[in-house]
Symmetry: C2
């Protein structure tokens, strides 16, 4: 006996931008669940910028994905068969096996979650999941935000950035500035998310655009983009400014080393701190994060937008589109509707 | 009545490397001390890399020096006339008015110091002064050194760097690596200061030299140099590495922005922290610093070397030589012998 599944594999390491031929869809036969295992049907799976790094052979903070193996990632699904007393059939769960329509795995590797009345379960992949905790940990712990700070976030219309800006606003930032890559995103930041100012980084030198958007300077920078954005933030920092360096999507597809910030000497006189982080080091913040953010979702003070691609067949295109900035808010791939 | 003094003034803002004509010696008449004032004869004055920044018109952490004014800096001297009960004639004092043979100033602007039996008073400008506290604060607070860390210091033969390396050794570093600019300095670091390894940064790419000198990587980087050294340290960092960014002497004479580190993306995966600092923010560490370092000086566990230039006439040349790396240990200008 076995279970027929559909999965995506990495078959070639991308050089620069990933192309369709770097991936292949396969039909696989997975064994029936053994004792303690569950079978989970994917409701929605996540595509995230960090996945680009896993596709390289070079050493990173996490192992490279192997060629010819099914790719991994955050997934929310429903248990359709169970040989575990702890996780019964019908349970809603999170797991990390992504990129497939059905997963067979140890019940100890899933987390049971509650339904979200009136809200899609895919929020567990975004605002209530890894991107949300990333925004929370980076802003409040790594960058040590405090009320009254002026905050700049790059990639502000993305899954993480859109939350950083809103968290800062809700916690009393004096000013929240974001950069994004299209006029529509810039309008969304101002009109829907309550950013104080936003700009399209294609419209000029980032340093000039930032200086205009934050004429009093910035105290906190949350960086998802790297490169020119980081140099501009260093220039705009007030004394004791802090950067939480979360990502550098501008360089993920780069095939040679990008130029670095030319103004690092400003770290001394302005006593700046630049600190990189990974969300996995901050799991202890999960309870306060979930409690506060759930409340903000319930009372409507937080906007959690998704860009949804329908169907597993679209997963690779969704990922490639993500790296081009095709998403507003969290990019998710939905395979099946939420259960009633 | 008045007091004849000899002083050095800045008369032109240097473009790139300072040249002799940027400065002029003057003979001045300073008024006799008023109530609460003291007259201090300079024993030794300091020249320091930070002074190069004060010579620029551009905004920095401290005001630019005015053209046609006498330059300032750390000085140790003896009170030769006093109208203050708190600071009597004969007292040994520190003040910040430098670059002159005699200073007239408010007694509240001097700090009385004790003689150093068997040691020169000029140590108050180095190991027991601002450079010493800089090394202390940068290593122990800003970079959060802990025993067992592998430490890399750039400009390791300078006033600050030579102390950073020794402090790290004395507090249990697993490895202390330094870079310097001449073979003699490199030998001195290994033979006299007890560095585990040292290299001349002219001998190749800093990244390669550092990888060879610290094959297990580094946990702490104390940067006095900037530029290529910072990039190399980022590459060599172990997880959770911390840089205390103290200075960037490689760029102080630069007339255009130097290239920045091209590997800033490593901050994320390695969770690195780069933090700039100024010693003035860390004055609260002064008591523990003085107590510990005085003990190390007394018991001979710390080497405090000076490069001494004799006479006020040599002060500008001493400063220019400092920026070329002509010093080993602290560069001081001695005007008069220590009192008996």
């Amino acid at each position: 006996m076995s279970i027929a599944t559909r999965e995506w594999q990495l078959v070639r390491r991308p050089h620069g931008k990933p192309v369709a031929d770097d991936f292949r869809p396969v039909e696989a036969e997975r064994p029936d669940p053994g004792p303690g295992e569950v079978v989970v049907r994917t409701i929605a799976m996540s595509v995230d910028p960090y996945m680009r790094g896993r596709m390289n052979a070079t050493k990173s903070y996490a192992p490279s994905w192997e060629l010819g193996e099914t790719m991994q990632g955050g997934t929310v699904g429903q248990v359709i068969a169970s040989r575990s007393d702890a996780v019964p059939e019908g349970a809603l769960v999170l797991h990390g096996m992504g990129w497939r329509d059905v997963a067979v795995l140890d019940a100890g590797h899933v987390s049971v979650v509650e339904p979200l009345p009136g809200l899609p379960l895919s929020l567990y992949l975004g605002v209530l999941g890894m991107p949300g905790l990333t925004a929370w940990a980076g802003l409040f712990r790594v960058a040590a935000f405090s009320p009254g700070d002026a905050v700049f976030v790059s990639g502000a219309a993305g899954a993480v950035g859109s939350l950083v800006g809103q968290f800062a606003r809700l916690r009393g930032a004096s000013r929240v500035v974001g950069s994004a890559g299209t006029p529509e995103k810039v309008r969304w930041l101002g009109d829907e998310l309550g950013f104080s100012a936003a700009f399209d980084y294609h419209d000029g030198a980032v340093a000039d655009l930032l200086a205009a958007a934050a004429p009093e300077g910035i105290d906190v920078f949350f960086d998802n983009v790297g490169g020119e954005h980081l140099e501009a933030a260093i220039a705009a920092f007030n004394l004791h400014g802090r950067a939480a360096v979360c990502g550098a999507i501008s360089s993920y597809n780069a095939v040679s080393a990008p130029p670095g910030p030319r103004n690092m000497f400003l770290l001394v006189g302005k006593r700046l701190t630049l600190r990189g982080f990974l969300v996995g080091d901050h799991a202890d913040l999960q309870p306060e994060f979930v409690e506060t953010v759930s409340g903000w979702l319930r009372d409507g003070s937080l906007v959690a937008r998704e860009t949804v691609v329908e169907g597993l067949d679209g997963a690779v295109d969704a990922f490639r589109d993500l790296l081009r900035g095709g998403n507003t808010g969290k990019m998710v791939v939905r395979l099946t509707p939420d259960p009633e």
